[in-house]
């Protein structure tokens, strides 16, 4: 049996860094493609990662995204420092958003981000503390 391959990469995400918004996810997507993951799986992981990354850029002060590839799944973990989400259940509803006009002008803030992450993930956990930040754990099975 060959050794179990494992790939881990961490990305730093800057809040309000609109110029680089989405860069971590596009880089991660290119890496997943190089590893040879199935395109349909990459697509779901990339969309979930991108939505989560955009949330950090749009709403938090800063954050970290870690992508971990095991022989059975892709795990995407995001930890941000920010205001947190007061009502997670409400934030999970399609169409609910606290986005500013500036965010909407960039093409985001439709209130679809978190539901779309959940839709693309095989498992999704969100934990938020008001005034501290939000942690997302996303798993996409290979």
């Amino acid at each position: 049996m060959p050794e179990e391959p494992l790939f881990v990469q961490r990305f730093e995400i800057g809040g309000r860094d609109f110029r680089n918004a989405g860069k971590a996810s596009t880089t991660a997507k290119a890496i997943l493609k190089e590893i040879g993951i199935h395109p349909a799986v990459i697509r779901r992981a990339a969309i979930a990662a991108y939505e989560a990354e955009m949330n950090v850029v749009l709403y938090a002060r800063k954050g970290i995204m870690e992508i971990r590839v095991s022989p059975k799944d892709i795990q995407i973990r995001l930890e941000d420092e920010g205001d947190g989400i007061a009502d997670v259940e409400l934030a999970m509803q399609e169409g609910y958003s606290t986005a500013s006009d500036e965010i909407r002008e960039m093409g985001f803030g439709a209130g679809l981000g978190l539901p779309n992450i959940k839709k693309n993930a095989d498992s999704f956990h969100i934990h938020s503390v008001v005034g501290k930040g939000t942690t997302l754990e996303i798993t996409v099975l290979l």
């Binding site: 997507k29 199935h38 799986v41 939505e51 960039m106 093409g107 679809l112 839709k119």
Partner: protein, 132 residues
């Protein structure tokens, strides 16, 4: 539908990717909100949008969109064009409005995402073998 045909129907200017106009797109999606694109897009799509910043191309790359048509005479900014070149995404521009652009392509047979087999946008949900 070949991108060359899209270019003809919408009288597009090719911003980048004129060597790839023989490639095919299977479905069309018109949206200015990238959140909507990410929630509803299908693989191998053509995106029609009025959002001309770099996020249009980043979203396209993430969602596996082959080509973008900027409508209403919008021009993508320099950063968007550079990223499209790097990622191999074809950028086209038309003076037509969103409604007219989508209508013309639909009339010529380019269907929308909800009409494709399966309907929902989460392709590839079935467990796939590990390719590691």
């Amino acid at each position: 539908m070949k991108l060359e045909v899209v270019r003809e129907i919408l009288d597009c200017r090719v911003i980048t990717g004129d060597d790839r106009l023989d490639e095919e797109v299977g479905v069309g999606c018109g949206a200015d909100l990238m959140s909507d694109v990410l929630a509803f897009i299908k693989p191998n799509a053509l995106l029609l949008t009025g959002l001309s910043n770099v996020q249009s191309v980043r979203t396209a790359d993430i969602a596996g969109i082959k080509a973008i048509v900027y409508v209403r005479g919008k021009r993508p900014d320099k950063e968007a064009i550079e990223l499209a070149k790097e990622k191999g995404i074809v950028l086209l521009a038309t003076k037509l409005l969103m409604y007219e652009s989508c209508g013309k392509l639909y009339q010529h047979g380019l269907r929308g995402g909800s009409e494709l087999e399966g309907g929902s946008s989460d392709a590839g949900r079935t467990p796939l073998r590990s390719t590691l």
